[in-house]
Symmetry: C2
Subunit: 209 residues, 2 copies
């Protein structure tokens, strides 16, 4: 069987060299190249066409988050595994949105890292346990009501989000036009916005509904 080919981006020289050494001396893996930054990730990817990229996040120059994007744009087939100390939510989700295929914390032992590389090649998405948990949690909308919207206001907001006009909302909820607008005004106040568009945006991005 042909070995899995890798490219590494990691600014910590000792760590990077260790990984290269370990991987190259393990059956089934072959490191094509390794870099201490990912400024040219795009070119590098097109050049080496690796099966898998291991990418640190915190690197000088372009950070690993940009890096994922560059690799994925250059060659979507290449799987990118983030390998980092960061358990930070923002960075995590930015990486995922940029197309990362896996996310391992650096405390992961090398053995597990090798397994992860194989797993990602089989179409899996290796993640450290706590990361996977964060990812699944992100699906749980709810917490909805920090803005103390009343039930009726939530009804109205729900219809607003569907793109209903004040008139349509009134009809749908069997209330008068002015009442619907009244609710809308109260909603805008509570959400600290000045128009329906902002309200929709806020409601959807903060999962208020």
């Amino acid at each position: 069987m042909t070995p899995i080919s890798l490219v590494l981006f990691e600014d910590n020289d000792r760590l990077r060299e260790s990984l290269v050494y370990l991987l190259n001396n393990t059956e089934g893996f072959r490191v094509l190249a390794d870099y201490r930054h990912c400024n040219d990730a795009s070119l590098i990817t097109r050049l080496h066409k690796p099966d898998v990229v291991l990418m640190d996040i915190d690197m000088p120059g372009e950070g690993g988050i940009k890096g994922v994007g560059m690799v994925k744009e250059a060659r979507p087939l290449t799987a990118v595994i983030m390998y980092t100390v960061f358990e930070d939510d923002d960075k995590l989700f930015q990486c995922l949105c940029a197309g990362a295929n896996g996310y391992l914390l650096k405390k992961t032992p090398p053995g597990k890292l090798f397994e992860a590389v194989q797993e990602v090649m089989q179409g899996g998405a290796p993640m450290s346990g706590s990361i996977a948990r964060k990812v699944l949690n992100s699906f749980q909308q709810g917490k909805s009501n920090q803005y103390h919207l009343t039930p009726r206001e939530l009804d109205v907001l729900q219809h607003l989000i569907k793109g209903y006009s004040s008139k349509m909302i009134a009809a749908a909820l069997h209330i008068s036009f002015d009442t619907a607008r009244s609710h809308l005004k109260n909603i805008y106040n509570k959400l600290h916005v000045n128009c329906g568009k902002e309200a929709i945006s806020k409601a959807l991005t903060e999962h208020i509904i």
Copy 2:
């Protein structure tokens, strides 16, 4: 160490009984109860207070998707692992939104299942490889442009989503008020909507931006 306590919901009698047998004869696991449907999942959870629930999706009566919700509502601490044949996207994301802590396909060998139970107890989120992949993929917005919005239209849409008025968009993009509105009209046409609110809703729910 006290064993991990489980409750099983699985309508296939043979499979359920096998799992109960296997788990009860494995160090560290204890099945408190097992059921062929999850109509009373709420009560059952409150009664047994299991560490982990294994839940099938396709069961007579209330399906497992409702089941997750019932368990989680009754006792958020209880971890719920879906154990099912379905690789269906809709069902998957419905389960995750309902609060599932893991998602294993039935082709998972029992050994891995046991590992998964332990993993979920340690705060992980065990998922079959293909499932994890689907989950990460769901974060990749982009594919954005099935609606063939031009770059400029995407700019405008981005500002619209922030709640900007036509006037503000014009100022932000250094174009005239009418041009901004012109772009908006074109966007509405391409998205098949009739107002900014619908456009925002569509853009956000379909990850067009």
